[in-house]
Symmetry: C2
Subunit: 523 residues, 2 copies
Amino acid sequence: MVEYVEKSTQKVDVWKLKTYMCKVKTMDIYTGRNIIVLNKDEAKEHDIYAGYRTKLNFRNKSVIAIVDVSDEIVRPGEVGVFRDLAKEHKLKNGEKISIVHMDRPESIGYIKKKLDKETLSEYEVKTIVSDIMMDRLSEIETAAWISGAYINGLSDDEIIALAHATVESGDRLDLGKKGPVLDKHCIGGVAGNRTTMVIVPLIAAAGLYIPKTSSRSITSASGTADTMEVLANVTFTIDELKEIVLKAKGAIVWGGGMELAPVDDKLIRIRHPLSLDPEGMLLASILGKKKSVGAQHVVIDIPVGRGVKVPYIERGNHLAKHFLSVGNKMGMNIEALITDGAEPVGHGIGPALECIDVLEVLEGKGKGPDDLRHKSLLMTGKLLELCGKVRKNDGYRVAQDILDSGKALKKFREIIELQDGDPKVKASDIEVGQYKHAVTSKVGGSIFHIDNKTMAKIARIAGSPRDRGAGVLIHKFRGDRVERGERLFTIYAESEAKLDFALKALEKLEPIEMRKMLLGSVG
Amino acid sequence: MVEYVEKSTQKVDVWKLKTYMCKVKTMDIYTGRNIIVLNKDEAKEHDIYAGYRTKLNFRNKSVIAIVDVSDEIVRPGEVGVFRDLAKEHKLKNGEKISIVHMDRPESIGYIKKKLDKETLSEYEVKTIVSDIMMDRLSEIETAAWISGAYINGLSDDEIIALAHATVESGDRLDLGKKGPVLDKHCIGGVAGNRTTMVIVPLIAAAGLYIPKTSSRSITSASGTADTMEVLANVTFTIDELKEIVLKAKGAIVWGGGMELAPVDDKLIRIRHPLSLDPEGMLLASILGKKKSVGAQHVVIDIPVGRGVKVPYIERGNHLAKHFLSVGNKMGMNIEALITDGAEPVGHGIGPALECIDVLEVLEGKGKGPDDLRHKSLLMTGKLLELCGKVRKNDGYRVAQDILDSGKALKKFREIIELQDGDPKVKASDIEVGQYKHAVTSKVGGSIFHIDNKTMAKIARIAGSPRDRGAGVLIHKFRGDRVERGERLFTIYAESEAKLDFALKALEKLEPIEMRKMLLGSVG
């Protein structure tokens, strides 16, 4: 990855005069942040207090760390180094490092500007990103940056600067001049929506490159990387990804396993607790990641509906246009699709159950969920048209032919094999949780709504995604007529206790709503 | 202090099903936050990861803590408890506590509302404050709350709700029905501005109550509490403060030493790194603290000028009116004064040097800085008029009479004695740093500007406020004519090394600017 070189600030950094040497004492605690522990009295002597930012110098390296202090564990002359930091920089007990009290990084001024509704220059945005990468900014300061971007918005130029800085923060996949590179992205929120695992083999079988990096679940029941991991390894280096893609044209790997756009992971850690998704950061993050793998033609899936990120179609259209304008300015060919996200796609929710859906669609023979098949073909068709491989309006039919010919299944198995999985795998081989419970309808009627979030919550309580076989299998869908006592869905778990947890939680949740005639009465 | 009772949230908290018991293992590290360390694998089994929020239950108590994880230091069945938490709740090694994974606190939704430009109800503001007090909100979430209040502003009703919640977060001083309680506050930024130490004895000598709580320095050269500490103890409980005030009518103590408005300290910790001072929070904080000590008549000092918080007089006027309207709605009688804050007040900057200024003003005999004497008399006069003790326009003269009569000096010595200091102290007794260096002018001319921040920086580098005798003594002031080689100011330090640091820093700083005729040229 790119090595950030510290920029000299204009202000006089008088504190830099205050340096002292310490011996490393490693401490076995993960903190997820760069933290050191100094002896309280000694630190005070050097005007350093808990929460201060320091620079550690050792072996020609410089690392920024936040200070904690201790009376006893760390003696004068020692510096306690937490596991994250010790591991990353191979710091050994007794190694000598120098501690320097640092001034505020220059990017704090730029964050303040954004809070004051000013527009930042490319240099200012890139400085913020590099300071985040170097751990020069604390969580507090980063939270203010995200809040400012959320409330005051980012201009297109700021978004592009942020996307480019995101790309530059990490590694890049370079396939050389091997023909067009395609990609797809879904902004998420729809349970069971595993189109990637159908689209990638379809595109690769059509002879086009699609080096897909996917995420793991944060709050959903399963991410594409979690589901793919049932069938194959998903953790690869960037060089290994390149090797797989040069052979099979496609791959489905975990994006977090490599150093692609690493600043994004640091931002998500802060954005997540508040579910704060500033539109400009969403665009920069997604388009930056696409740029990192060298994508030229990208289809963006924007699910719209009750309970997903984008509740109304007007907002979906606005977001779609924004993706187009920024993506085009970044030199990418974009098509953004507004899709129906009001209920889960496919039958299964949870890694193993979703694998069955995907494999059944690829195996054909009329099995597998219609909606997953249809949506995957639609998106593949758009991608084929977008890159000029097939004529306008021919994409869906061409994709369908590839699927029905069995070439996509063959390609999927080739990818699975290159990713260290069993290429002979069939839908019927996939094992699901041995503890299960079928939930039946207490009333007769027709189904009005199946809630993505509530279904995901039930699947998670049952153990998904860590327990690969845990999750929910839906039997009845929106608009379906059900009789009293008929099965609505089945919960799967890998332990009886977790199945019980899910059933207990279910008492207070309403994952499926029946249509009601009377919505209220007055008088 | 007020005990916060947890409110039940409307949402189903299914995670509460997941509880496990652990034995306490205390760890000698201060973190400034409630953090526990769990065994990594065991936590994972309970779906708890680093950064998650948990509730600890023990002895009918509940505490919220953030999770760190460790492979080795903490074994399964143990919970590592950092020093802050262990000390506060007297947790002993081996004590059994239960760990519960918590859902998001309801106030996160209200913070999101503020980010979305909505106005919060009194209940919502109070819930945010109580969640901050209970450590239910992380630094990230609190930073978003402050950023939202900064960008979107707070309505008067929100400010009042915040001020009342601030008062309710801590202890209160109740002097009974003893006659009017007066107070003063300066919003800060002016070096050497120690009016409090002159005003308090003046008001108390006039027979009126003034229980003044002051702060320590954060980035300034010295806070009033630091300076007062040269002469007396400043750390007292609320009951001790009451005792002193009932005897002497006045006191000058450290506000941080008692539980007055403790939520404020938590907010300042987050606001400080970004110097983020949302106007509404400033008002709520100051007026809340005044309310906490039962103040009825309050004079607010708003210094305006180059380099202080409020650079322009228009902004000062706006802030003054805002203090009045909110203060009046809270039932307090307010007068806000716009003062000249463009250069330091008094001669000395740093605890001991400032004490000399204060004592010389109180001792009279034509000694002591004129500006400190004049400003203190002016503010005392306004306070005397505000509470109806003297007629409009008579305040200054009455204050002057008290000062000149020696009654204020006598009262100050009484207060010093009640605060465990030496009542016989004189200006000439105060010891300053033994290492000193006089800085002379390199050119002849007249002084155009003396910079508060740069002077404070030099004093800090020389050791202030920790080294009580360190600081800067200014000899020449704005408008003064100086010859080449004439003394401008003297730096004092308690060690040769610190004096050298300050002199080295001085090479790159310009604390005093001379008047320039030619400001630029074109062509």
